[in-house]
């Protein structure tokens, strides 16, 4: 199962539409949490909101999580060890109040378990990569290693 989520506060129809177009070719069910969007998906099970407990369960069942570039989803995906594909909201399309999701997406390029589609044209390829990637662990990234080393140095009063 593939889980699509755009958060509760805003709609993100560009991502929902693009995933709806891809859904028939993916060979597995797609469940979408659509927030305040107006588009009605034809090929996915879609719900505006999903309760936190159930959502957690769906995250654990999913083979891939597809999301707006919200850091909350990134953290939850890391916790459950699932690959997460991010597509950033854009201010010029009225999808958010500023372009911080573009910045977040760019700064997360290349991190283990995180795939980035800067727009819907890149989505199909990234979904295919995500479905092949399997479970992930958050500790492997170079930035995580750097943080763990810095933390140990602080605790032991060593210079970094």
């Amino acid at each position: 199962m593939i889980l699509v989520t755009v958060g509760m506060q805003l709609g993100f129809d560009r991502l929902i539409k693009a995933m709806d177009r891809l859904a028939p070719e993916l060979g597995q069910p797609v469940i979408a949490q659509t927030g305040k969007g107006t588009y009605t998906p034809q090929h996915m099970e879609a719900r505006a909101r999903i309760a936190p407990g159930e959502f957690q369960g769906l995250m654990q069942e999913a083979t891939l999580i597809v999301s707006h570039a919200g850091i909350g989803t990134v953290l939850t995906a890391a916790r459950v060890g699932k690959p997460v594909l991010l597509m950033p909201r854009r201010e010029d399309l009225g999808e958010h109040r500023n372009d911080h999701q573009l910045a977040t997406a760019r700064s997360l390029v290349g991190r283990p378990g995180i795939l980035i589609a800067m727009d819907e044209s890149e989505l199909a390829d990234r979904v295919a990569e995500g479905l092949q990637s399997g479970p992930v662990t958050a500790q492997e990234s170079p930035t995580a290693r750097q943080l763990h080393a810095a933390l140990a140095a602080f605790i032991e009063r060593r210079p970094r």
Partner: protein, 131 residues
């Protein structure tokens, strides 16, 4: 939670506002603090006193907080007992440092952000991220 692999090398006590979450991750808790924020002054005072009691009881050499007001109060209490204190701002704060993170720049020995673009020469400092 994601820092546990490193913390497990030391004698570590965890304090939380959500014991249920800790139990879910198999972490035993040394103390539970009431949750609070800038809009809950009475709870904040209760939390600050609870944090002080907890720190006086455990007398940690090092106190690390990864965020929010209760963690900040633990760092503040730690300054009174002579602990070395470190604030690691949550990776969720990608746009700006949290309010308690900004306050910790004054109170804590060190304040780290997990986003390179938020770091500055006078702090907060960037030393990697959990992601």
């Amino acid at each position: 939670m994601l820092l546990r692999p490193t913390l497990s090398a030391y004698t570590t006590h965890f304090a939380t506002t959500e014991p249920a979450v800790a139990a879910q991750h198999g972490v035993s808790i040394a103390g539970t603090l009431p949750d609070c924020n800038q809009n809950t002054p009475v709870k904040s005072l209760q939390c600050a006193l609870s944090a002080l009691r907890l720190v006086m009881r455990l007398r940690p050499q090092v106190i690390i907080s990864t965020g929010s007001a209760p963690g900040f109060f633990c760092l503040l209490a730690g300054r009174l007992t002579g602990a070395r204190t470190l604030w690691i701002d949550s990776v969720a704060n990608a746009e700006e440092l949290s309010l308690s993170g900004r306050l910790s720049q004054i109170v804590a020995h060190q304040c780290w952000t997990q986003w390179e673009h938020l770091a500055g020469p006078k702090g907060p400092h960037y030393h990697g991220a959990v992601l």
